[in-house]
């Protein structure tokens, strides 16, 4: 029995961004989280932040001729210069993060556990890791959302009872959006709130390493 289709990254990003309010200050990690920059309606005023010192940028630029190499986010991706944009130093950028001035951070994840711990630094087979800005972001933002595939390429669980990889940040994750559903971590449990079309809770539990609590009002994802 083949598994149902998983959610497209664009849809995953739309699930994350549907709750953003105008004025929210949101840091987007590289990879999947950055998709969020591209699905925000242009009439919304969400201030996007990237830790190298840019705040208030718009969508990723795909037309190379329009790219300004001085307006880019982490990962050397050129982004749109929105009115009201600000540049800072790295130390001020993290003053802003650590000082509690971010509303949301959307991070990628390798493992998230039911104690809200996040591991997103790859150590396996590597002599060291890459912490990047995630430790500060996960601590400093009022809300940390992890946006990731529900399992690894080779089918290993990423939503787990207890992270086995080194922690990037402890007790920080409030929501997990994956390609099969939406989970909130509440009171030490992973609560399944929304499911991708065709994915019932049992099937999601089957690819999840933590026991899922099924929300009373669990429903198919809406945008």
């Amino acid at each position: 029995m083949s598994e149902p289709e998983r959610l497209h990254p664009t849809v995953m990003a739309m699930i994350v961004t549907r709750d953003f309010r105008d004025g929210d200050v949101v840091n987007l990690g590289v990879g999947l989280p950055l998709e969020c920059a591209n699905v925000l309606p242009p009439d919304r005023e969400i201030l996007l932040h990237s830790e190298l010192g840019i705040l208030g940028f718009g969508p990723v630029i795909t037309d190379h001729t329009q790219a300004d190499p001085y307006v880019m986010m982490v990962g050397n991706l050129p982004v749109t210069a929105n009115p009201g944009m600000v540049f800072t130093s790295h130390d001020e950028s993290f003053a802003l993060i650590r000082g509690g001035h971010l509303d949301v951070t959307v991070l990628g994840g390798l493992q998230v556990d039911q104690e809200c711990n996040l591991a997103n630094t790859q150590f396996e087979g590597k002599p060291a890791g890459n912490l990047g800005g995630a430790p500060d972001l996960a601590y400093g933002a009022k809300r940390t959302i992890v946006l990731m595939h529900h399992t690894t390429n080779d089918g290993q669980f990423k939503v787990v009872e207890r992270c086995t990889l080194p922690l990037t940040a402890p007790r920080c994750v409030s929501r997990i959006v994956t390609d099969v559903g939406v989970m909130d971590i509440e009171g030490g449990a992973v609560v399944l709130k929304e499911t991708a079309p065709g994915w019932d809770p049992e099937r999601i539990q089957g690819i999840t390493g933590a026991r899922l609590v099924i929300a009373d009002d669990v429903h198919e994802v809406t945008l």
């Binding site: 201030l47 009201g84 650590r98 079309p197």
Partner: protein, 264 residues
């Protein structure tokens, strides 16, 4: 099942507040407040100070580089300007001390610098009606910056061997004694800037003093500005204070209002 995202869900960002009275209306008795500037009519958040005086909040902890001169300020602080250019709308926190609103000052300049200069806060202190914590400007500035930056405490080499270090932890780093100083976060920060946009981005004119330092070091930062410009007019490289540090912006009147009692 997956439907397209709907449009706008709320108002555009607009941090401009119509009046100074509105801007400070929710400062509660007992609040801790950063007052920016450096004892000059040209960098003091004068109209915000006057609005706090009108609003009536009392029992304040005031964090400010100096505790102010009170209503005599404008003349004394700008005596080097031709009389016709002297601002008549300079109010510093000495006004709040005069009105008995300040329970505690955290400051670098607690008193008049001469025997015959006696300022309002000093009189309150002498009368036992207020308390004060005096520290050097560097530690004061760094403690405020730490609050903005989410740093709980830091070790500075300035202070050991003086009264400032009393009761504080002193630890050696590389053989040099350092004193542990903690972040000074406030409920409100009142700062003065030159231009702002509706996102709250600020630029300053001249030395940025404690105005830049304090913006973002409080739950609510309120900026008094000369001018609000269109979004995009302030260039991203030139903005001194990112708007995310600022919650409210109020524009100064085009003509000076010389009485602090005037609703504005």
């Amino acid at each position: 099942m997956v439907r397209p995202q709907r449009g706008r869900s709320g108002p555009l960002i607009n941090k401009i507040v119509a009046t100074f009275d509105d801007a400070v209306a929710d400062i509660a008795d007992g609040a801790t407040v950063h007052f920016g500037g450096f004892a000059s009519p040209f960098n003091s958040p004068s109209y915000l100070v006057a609005a706090v005086a009108r609003q009536g909040a009392t029992d304040l902890t005031a964090i400010s580089t100096s505790m102010g001169r009170g209503l005599a300020s404008a003349d004394q602080q700008s005596r080097w300007l031709p009389p016709e250019l002297r601002p008549r709308d300079f109010f510093d926190i000495g006004l709040l001390a005069e009105l008995g609103r300040i329970r505690k000052g955290i400051t670098s300049f607690a008193v008049g610098a001469r025997h015959d200069w006696v300022y309002p806060f000093e009189e309150r202190l002498a009368a036992g009606e207020a308390e004060v914590e005096v520290l050097g400007q560097g530690s004061l500035a760094e403690r405020i910056r730490a609050a903005r930056a989410g740093i709980a405490a830091f070790y500075t080499p300035v202070g050991p061997g003086t009264d400032v270090a009393r009761g504080k932890e002193v630890r050696d780093f590389d053989g040099v004694p350092h004193v542990l100083e903690t972040a000074l976060k406030a409920d409100f920060a009142l700062v003065r800037a030159y231009k702002a946009d509706r996102y709250g981005n600020l630029i300053f004119r001249g030395a940025r003093t404690f105005n830049e330092t304090m913006a973002g070091a409080a739950a609510v930062t309120i900026a008094e500005v000369d001018e609000v410009v269109d979004l995009g007019e302030l260039r991203p490289e030139q903005i001194h204070t990112p708007g995310v540090y600022v919650q409210r912006v109020v524009v100064r009147p085009s003509q000076p209002v010389t009485s602090w009692g005037t609703a504005l």
